[in-house]
């Protein structure tokens, strides 16, 4: 059994076979499925039917894949407005699972799965794990939160179906994470990158180097993270860090994932059809151009999503991937248009600040961005923890470090920044999705 799954990159692996489908066949399959899902929505979701009727579009108008551009977009507020069950396309009797977003702004977003949807989710999760080199011989410590959040159970079901040994530890409880990682010999961890950094740090305080443990692969997702952050994680923990992408509105984790090439995330486009659009005009952009990722669920039954705007900024990569997969890749997402900060009229993303900070040798990835107003002017302050390796013994050495960080950030974002160095472990560590920005501008 092990050799069967270990041959994870082989087209002979029946579960991963669609990853290697010739492009023409994939397009044919996508069109067939797109026509099906549009009809399914039109027949069963009143909200969707009204939208098409308003535009005088009939499901039969979808004759080519390009015709998808005729269909209206769906956005997060559509889910919120139809809370809880307004967008269901099947009777409740057919629903086997409900998940919901944390709902930080009012009502949560509800997502649902039929038995068939669960099979699709498990399928894309198995393919995701195989793409990261995980096999049935692995012991996977799942540190994503279990519960309404799709991360925990999504990873769990996929890893179990793959035949790996799953440790359903969930998020938090850092000392226990480290103890089990050591005692059980976990070879894979699935976790948010920010929480993993915290685990590495606490382990080091306990005198345990993650490098010396059997851990070899990290499956990181649920928050944007930069290439620079990956370099730090791989170096500090001696593992391969792979990015997994997903969102509850589409299915949860397993929409896309990196492969051994670690160069872009393959989208499981037999189930999730990707488009890149211009965020302002809604116009579809050609492959290779940066814009907002829009996804259509081609097979989802419970809550199909037609042209869902993800708010994630990326592009579809055009070159063939070294790993041999033919399914298209998107560039690693490090920015969400939702995270964009407007500072003195300039658009700034937290990921740009992270990349600029980590470009300075010896800096730690523990930082917090503060936005304040001074005399009606936006002020950007970045608090960064200092470590002993960087700490020169003179004031000029520390001032030098501060100005190097400030210059690096300013050169990237184009806004001057106040850098404040703080003592170690004074910036709060995240147990799940990291909060990196504190905006105090509207509190006055």
């Amino acid at each position: 059994m092990s050799t069967y799954w270990n041959d994870k990159n082989s087209p002979m692996n029946p579960v991963s076979a669609p990853d290697f489908l010739p492009t023409e066949q994939m397009r044919e399959l996508q069109l067939y499925r797109l026509q099906g899902v549009v009809k399914h929505c039109y027949d069963n979701v009143e909200f969707f039917k009204n939208r098409l009727d308003e535009r005088s579009i009939a499901p039969g108008d979808i004759k080519t894949l390009e015709d998808i551009a005729k269909l209206p977009f769906a956005v997060k507020t559509d889910l919120r407005d139809n809370y809880p069950f307004g967008l269901f396309a099947v009777p409740m009797n057919d629903i086997v699972r409900l998940h919901a977003s944390s709902g930080t702004t009012g009502k949560p977003i509800v997502v649902a799965y039929t038995e068939e949807d669960m099979k699709v989710w498990v399928n894309v999760m198995v393919r995701s794990l195989a793409s990261c080199g995980v096999s049935s011989e692995d012991i996977l410590q799942n540190a994503y939160g279990y519960g309404l959040f799709t991360g925990g159970l999504g990873l769990h079901c996929g890893a179990e179906a793959l035949g790996a040994t799953v440790i359903p530890i969930s998020g938090g409880n850092t000392n226990k994470q480290i103890m089990l990682m050591k005692d059980f010999g976990s070879t894979v961890i699935s976790v948010t990158p920010s929480y993993f950094l915290h685990v590495v740090e606490v382990a080091s305080e306990m005198g345990i180097s993650i490098k010396d443990l059997p851990l070899r692969v990290g499956i990181f997702g649920a928050e944007p993270w930069t290439f620079e952050m990956r370099a730090r994680i791989e170096e500090q923990a001696g593992i391969k860090a792979y990015d997994i992408y997903g969102l509850s509105e589409i299915i949860g984790p397993g929409v896309g994932v990196e492969c051994s090439a670690q160069n872009g995330l393959h989208i499981f486009e037999d189930h999730f059809y990707p488009e890149i659009i211009d965020s302002d005009t809604g116009e579809v952009l050609p492959d290779g151009t940066e814009g907002e990722l829009v996804l259509t669920t081609l097979t989802k039954q419970a809550i199909p999503m037609i042209r869902y705007r993800t708010r994630d900024i990326t592009k579809i990569m055009t070159e063939k991937c070294k790993c041999g997969r033919t399914i298209r890749r998107i560039e690693k997402i490090s920015t969400r248009s939702d995270d964009m900060m407007i500072i003195r009229g300039v658009n700034v993303f937290p990921s740009q600040i992270e990349a600029a900070l980590l470009a300075i040798e010896g800096t730690l990835p523990h930082y917090m961005i503060y936005l304040t107003k001074e005399h009606d002017l936006d002020c950007l302050e970045v608090k960064v923890e200092i470590n002993s390796a960087q700490f020169g013994d003179t004031v000029s050495a520390i001032e030098g470090l501060k100005s190097r960080i400030a210059e690096s950030i300013k050169s990237v974002v184009g806004v001057s920044v106040k850098v404040t160095l703080v003592e170690p472990k004074t910036i709060e560590r995240s147990q799940g999705k990291a909060k990196r920005v504190i905006d105090l501008r509207n509190n006055k």
Binding site: F391, V395, L421, E423
Partner: protein, 143 residues
């Protein structure tokens, strides 16, 4: 003549200095000399203690950023012009003093002790020895 000095990064906020001093107290470490360089947002506390290794371990365990720097302890006559003699020697040799501060004096011998951070500590020690300037030995300091 050469002594290990602890340097600590501290935020310029109430309560930060006392937490360091309490740690040292807890481990029975005595501060022999100190200097505090301050800026608006942070300070660097420089300490000469009786057991620097123990102090470093204790402070790092409590999450402080500690650096060890080699400094030079020199004994000068407690008279007008006592310091000038040392500075003259260093000036002639183009050794830069990054910072300095006073140490405890010895009333019996009418001497004062000074801590110097030179850009080239080893060269500085050589030059001082040749000029007949006596250093303060770690053993004398710590006992």
């Amino acid at each position: 003549m050469k002594i290990q000095q602890l340097s600590l990064f501290i935020e310029n906020k109430p309560g930060h200095l006392i937490s360091i001093c309490s740690d040292l107290d807890k481990y029975g470490i005595n501060i022999l000399a100190l200097s505090l360089a301050d800026t608006t947002s942070f300070g660097i506390l420089r300490l000469i203690v009786n057991d620097w290794e123990k102090a470093k371990t204790a402070l790092e365990a409590d999450g402080h950023v500690v650096n060890i720097t080699e400094v030079v302890a020199i004994e000068v006559p407690n008279d007008p012009g006592g310091l000038v003699k040392v500075l003259d020697v260093m000036d002639a040799s183009e050794i830069n003093i990054e910072y300095m501060y006073a140490f405890a004096g010895n009333p019996e011998l009418n001497t004062a002790a000074l801590i110097f951070r030179f850009d080239k500590p080893d060269v500085a020690v050589e030059i001082l020895r040749n000029a007949g300037i006596s250093g303060v030995d770690p053993i004398d300091v710590f006992n």
